[in-house]
Amino acid sequence: MAFVKLNDLEIEVEDGTNVVEAAREHGIEVPHYCYHSGLSRPANCRMCLVEPHVFFPPAGAIVPDRQLATGCTTVLRTAPPDRKLDGKYDFIVRTDSQRVQKARADILEFLLVHHPLDCPVCDQAGECDLQDYSHRHGYDKSRYLEVKNVPPKKDLGPDVLLYATRCVVCTRCIRFADEVSGTGELGLVHRGSHDEIDIPRSHEGVPLQLLDNKLAGNVVDICPVGALISKDFLFKSRPWFLEKANSVCSGCSVGCNITVEYKADGLYRIKPRFHEDINQHWMCDDGRLGYHYVNSDDRLQLPLKRVDDELTPTHWADALSVITERLSEIETEDIVVIGSAQGTNEDNYVLQQFAHDVLKTTQLGLFGQLLGEEHKFPQFTIEADKNPNTAGARTILGSANGNVVLEGDALWEKVSGAKVVYLVSGGSERPLEDAEKAALESVDFLIVQDILPSEVTQLADVVLPGTTFAEKDGTFTNSTGWVQRIRKAIDPPGEARVDWEITQQLAKQLGGEMNYHFAGEIALAIAENVPGYSDTSHQKIGDTGIKLAGSDQ
């Protein structure tokens, strides 16, 4: 640990921490553009200048160093005993001296020389580092009289636009493409004040390669100004109108931490949230842009029941009574309950309890999205399992005595010929394979709980409208054993209900003794009853998640 005097604070920091990070940990802002803790440090924006202090022998005193230093590359380390300053400090640095403040204001003045004043039409306004720092550290007027550079707007790829006029050439995006995605599509063209970010082009300007990789959307997040803009979010909303919920991506079993940004009428965008061990700063575009099904107009809003071979909307009481009627006249062995790898641990726990305690069946199945492709990048992996909670659902469903969780062929074998199947699906639309379709077709009475009309709901006798990850609280367990919370952002559409509530309602109607009021209560039951999950109360999981004991991956 290094003992550092930062402004008037005396702080202890890990060896190897840079000044920007050390200051941030202690609530002091050192403005910066090019520095990003997930990328290399070129120190080219010169915004994070700080004032180190050194011992000056002729004066016999500690004085500010002649040169200001960039905070991002100034690394704090334990000094040898004879090099301590004032006998005890390993480093003395000020981030608030007059000289630093002037340097910051001067750099901002340079940054704004060619920057257009188009904040009113810029998507970044409100979450723009240039705007914020100018407000906090900059001068209030420009001394620049000449004509501004107007480099052209560019279409870089499927989801990314470059408003080159706004660019401050911090090169974060270039470094991201080089270091994290390893795809290297971006580079600088021209020189000096004509520097522009661009993709490879022929002399005629025809793109030779687009910014088209599965991590491309991250460059929009890391762009400190409004230069790189997501086409998906373009002109959709001012960021300050958006509410935010910390959640977990449901796109695959990695379990990237995300922030869901929403208004009352639906989700607007999804941004990655830092988690050191899981996704660092990043997420993939499948997750980022894959939320549209949540806002879909096709969402199931009312329960449906089959009348004369047609699925007809009905009300909850009717739908549930049709089910309970049917269930009560069936032998236990003929019922198969299938949980969902798209559902939360809480959903699956209630389902499991329903099957075990109420229906007295131990025949459970696990259903989820089809296996996709795995994508590996130098610093990021998108996993093939496209369900967020396969590991959790598998454990939870099999947690009660004697429960058997069937998957794949074994499940469909069991399903074919079953009298009643209660299948919970959820997630975006999933096509059915032939064997699955045949098995489900052969079922006498098929109850499907889903969020969108799909091939599965087509076969159902009763369809119950469930909820997506954005509409409920709960926990997911990712492939490496991290249990993490998802949080409710928006209300479910129409009369759709949270999945575990539907199951509980069914259980109640069949005489079960379940009475959970909110997801956290179920989490406590899970903590009590499921081996390995003893610490997983919602309070303890918090925003960072908990890694299950014994998960070594």
Binding site: L49, P64, R66, E109, V169, L188, G192
Partner: protein, 491 residues
């Protein structure tokens, strides 16, 4: 009358000196052979240290000291010869490359022997097509004669030289920009530390030396340290306690251009004064000296008051200028300083690599301000303010008079100083390009302020008589002092 002392250039005009055989007749490679035969590598390095040789590329950093920073245990270690001579007003390396490339190869061999280096890259300015052709031919010949390659002359020494052409960027003459370019990247300087001596080409320790520096090595080895240190003055560095010797030894290839009768490269001992140099170059063309740029276009300008300044590294540093690459440009009374500054600023605005913010957007801004002034559109406020200057007590203070406010001159000084502050000698940029921009901008403007003021006042370029155009050194010094924070005042 001062005489030229030709050492590096002694045989420059011998016909066919670029061929191995002729070079050999004039002691070619004997110094290298002597080094191998008589000295251990460490002895060679010590001789270079003792000779007081300072790097001729521009910074004037002690070559021996630089070599001592190279870690001995990390191999491979590289030598990078900086032949990207691109400072306006400088053209001495070019003659060596074109006429006597074997001398450079011999210098490289000595350096490689001293530092245990096996691979050398010569980064040649792209425009030097003839120089590269001659050097390549010489390298080929040296391989054939067994002075390059594996096991040179049976000594077990391996040295390979690769010549690499630049692509025309001024900034690739900066040592880390050169290294980036050599590695195949954009020519953008690196953050320092780590310095190239620790982490240079391909992440390995690298010695970066100018052509002229390397060409000095054969003569230091051949004639001995004592002979070498006789040339040029040795000062005492009073910043150290007790004062340490600050040698400015050897000869320098001065490239004299501008208003002199016989411009060209002159090899002279360090430590001659400006006026002596003008005399060597055939005297002034014109009536009187208006200004002298002492070390390439990035060096602060000297006025006719400062013609007695000795042109060596130490004296020019004390005069708040620099010897730089030794490109001396003399201007007579017909020259307009605003126009000169505009010319230089156009060059720097074009050559900024654009990596770091202050330089990327500050440099063209400075150019635009100077352009505006030169176009006659410079702004002058209608108000006046108290005039600060040399007060009665000889210190800077309120003189009791008023002065007119030239907004654009204030702006020019402020913007240039925000890129790199010439008074405190601090810069907010990654490399010293920033100071190469603000040094001329601020020094021209301060030392020839009347000419700038007249240009703004008249709305067109005005060339004033020398005496009127120049600010006296006392006033200029006092003006500088007011910006220097107290704790740096005596540095």
């Amino acid at each position: 009358m001062v005489q030229e002392r030709r050492i590096l250039y002694e045989h420059l005009d011998v016909p066919d000196i670029n061929t191995f055989d002729v070079f050999r007749q004039y002691d070619g490679y004997t110094r290298f052979e002597k080094a191998i035969a008589e000295y251990q590598p460490d002895d060679v390095a010590k001789m270079v240290m003792d000779s007081g040789l300072k790097g001729r590329g521009g910074a004037g950093f002690s070559t021996g000291l630089k070599w001592s920073f190279v870690p001995k245990d990390i191999k491979p270690c590289y030598l990078c010869c900086n032949a990207d001579e691109s400072e306006p007003g400088t053209f001495s390396n070019r003659y060596v490359l074109e006429k006597n490339p074997h001398l450079l190869i011999e210098g490289i061999l000595i350096c490689c022997y001293a530092m245990g280096i096996e691979t050398t890259y010569v980064y040649i300015r792209g425009e030097f097509t003839l120089g590269k052709k001659m050097l390549d031919a010489a390298i080929k010949e040296a391989y054939e004669k067994g002075y390059l390659g594996k096991d040179i002359r049976g000594t077990g020494l391996n040295v390979d030289i690769y010549s690499h052409p630049g692509a025309g960027a001024y900034i690739c003459g900066e040592e880390t920009g050169l290294i980036e370019s050599l590695e195949g990247k954009r020519g953008q300087p690196r953050n320092k530390p780590p310095f190239p001596a620790v982490e240079g080409v391909f992440g390995k320790p690298t010695v970066v030396q100018n052509v002229e520096t390397l060409c000095n090595l054969p003569f230091i080895i051949g004639n001995g340290v004592e002979w070498y240190t006789q040339m040029g003055p040795t000062y005492a560095d009073t910043r150290a306690n007790p004062p340490t010797p600050d040698p400015n030894t050897g000869t320098k290839l001065y490239c004299i251009s501008g208003d002199v009768n016989e411009p060209g490269v002159y090899e002279l001992d360090l430590g001659l004064t400006c006026s002596e140099l003008i005399e060597v170059a055939g005297g002034l063309r014109g009536e009187e000296v208006k200004a002298v740029i002492p070390g390439g276009s990035s060096a602060p300008i000297l006025t006719h008051y400062e013609l007695d300044t000795r042109l060596d590294f130490t004296s020019l540093t004390l005069a708040k200028s620099m010897l730089g690459s030794g490109g001396i440009i003399v201007m007579n009374e017909t020259r307009n300083i605003v126009d000169c500054l505009l010319n230089i600023m156009k060059f720097y605005a074009h050559e900024s690599c654009g990596q770091c913010t202050p330089c990327r957007w500050g440099t063209p801004w400075v150019r635009d301000i100077v352009q505006r002034i030169a176009d006659g559109n410079g702004r002058k406020d209608t108000m006046t303010r108290p005039k600060f200057g040399v007060a009665e007590n000889g210190r800077w203070g309120d003189t009791g008079e008023t002065e007119e406010i030239y907004e654009d001159l204030d702006l020019l000084e402020s913007v240039a100083n925000n890129i790199a502050n010439v008074d405190t000698m601090t810069w907010n940029t990654i490399c010293v390009f920033g100071i190469a921009v603000s040094w001329p901008a601020v020094s021209y403007m301060r030392k020839f302020r009347p000419e700038f003021e007249a240009t703004i006042q008249e709305g067109k370029l005005v060339t004033l008589p020398v005496a009127e155009a120049t600010v006296s050194p006392e006033e200029n010094y006092a003006y500088q002092q007011r910006f220097v924070p107290k704790e740096f005042a005596d540095l």
